[in-house]
Subunit: 239 residues, 2 copies
DNA sequence: CTCAAAAGTTAGGACGTACTAACTTATTTC
DNA sequence: GAAATAAGTTAGTACGTCCTAACTTTTGAG
């Protein structure tokens, strides 16, 4: 009975505050590849001063949500990962529900979900998901974690990395910038659409795309925000 | 340009924090009759120490949301009242939506709405209301304030005050206690139902009710939580 | 290998909201 | 109208989250 000094790590289900959920989400998305997240990157993503992140990150580590080594960034623990995925599920189910059931445009759902994700109960989220038929992705194509915390973590190439001549199906677009989403919508670069890279100008120049019988030209910044699944070239249809 | 010292009262639309919205709601409901709310009553309703209320109430007054005179309770200003009604609208629309569109039982909606009301945008609330046909009351019969801040403030008698022999239509029941709501549901004492007081035992004894062809007996505490609109007695149908 | 730049940390402070303990003002009762 | 009780306030503290400024550690370029 003399265990705890200050590392609470109570169990796995204390309600987390909204800022804590935001940190965990950010760390999860940053660390998707390597597993690790740097202080500055977290700070940038959350629009906070790095000093604030240092402080918070220590508290989260004390709660057993992160593994933290001073000056060497941070990694989610299993319990931190579970919490992050729970929040991500809320966020994405809510986005899907707003679009599907309440007529939201895809450029407006992110902001609303950003607040609701911290207030909605698991039950509400599950009911929303059930009502719209248990969607597997949100309106931007991001995969929705399941209730038991598993999620498709396939890493896709961006349109900026697709070689000239190659085709891909858009699977996902960045969800945070409404303007960008509206523009992508105009171009009809939407999840599910097939695109082909026709040419790429040097020095980060424009990328010319074919989509259906349309052709269009987009900058590399925009292209980097569009993820695609490569498709065996040229074929009408294939596995 | 030398106005502000610390009384910000910026204008009418700064986003309020969740605690502030809760205070305003509480003060509104307490003050419905007299307009005034006592510190201790606010504290009790929000389950806070009276000292905390003293502090908060001063800040709210500085923001122009309350009129506050030390040792003499508090009154909403016009801007405070508007804010309170905005929150109340959110709460009640959300309750109605959860029940109507997502299959929530009426005893579960309050708790969920209590959190969502602070996170939902006006647009979301308006879309919810539109989707379920602009309801005028929430699932417990409480009137929903309109977008422009008007609300039906009719004060109803409770079932405990209805004289023996009188009839009334249930218009509203207290929404906060899920157990009570489930019990009322079992008894089928629901908004819209007509009840008649058959007898009332002395010393706060049970009240016997007729409802349809059923008869039942409830305590005065429960009866006080059921509001009724008196009905011209005995008539089969009338204006 | 050294040292400047980049990354990260600590120290100290602010703000909003809550608490307890001790005090003051208002109300009720005799 | 004085004393007892109820209601309300202030003082001092805590916690979570954020900030800026100053410092330290790591990295990477020459």
């Amino acid at each position: 009975m003399s265990a705890a000094r200050e590392e609470s790590r109570l169990s796995g289900r204390e309600p987390l505050t909204a800022p804590v959920e935001d940190y965990l989400k950010a760390i999860y998305t940053i660390g998707k590849g390597t597993g690790a997240a740097a202080t500055n990157e977290i700070a940038q993503r959350l629009a906070l001063a790095p000093a604030s992140v240092s402080g918070m990150v220590r508290r989260l580590a004390d709660q057993g949500l992160l593994a933290y080594e001073r000056y060497h960034g941070v990694k989610l623990t299993e319990s931190g990962r579970r919490a992050a995925l729970r929040t991500l599920r809320r966020h994405r189910v809510i986005e899907a529900y707003l679009a599907e059931a309440l007529g939201y445009q895809w450029d407006r759902v992110h902001e609303e979900a950003e607040r609701l994700e911290h207030a909605a109960s698991d039950e509400l989220v599950d009911r929303m998901a059930a009502t719209i038929g248990e969607p597997e992705v949100d309106p931007h194509g991001a995969p929705i974690p399941t209730k038991d915390g598993s999620v498709d973590e396939t890493e896709y190439k961006s349109l900026a990395d697709l070689p000239v001549g190659a085709s891909g199906v858009v699977v996902r677009v960045a969800d945070e910038d409404p303007e960008m989403l509206r523009y992508l919508g105009e171009l009809s670069i939407l999840p599910g659409k097939r695109v082909t890279v026709k040419s790429r100008a040097p020095y980060d120049g424009p990328i010319t795309l074919g989509a259906g019988r349309q052709e269009m030209s987009i900058g590399p910044v925009l292209a980097a925000h569009v993820l695609v699944a490569p498709v065996a070239d040229r074929a009408g249809k294939r596995g």
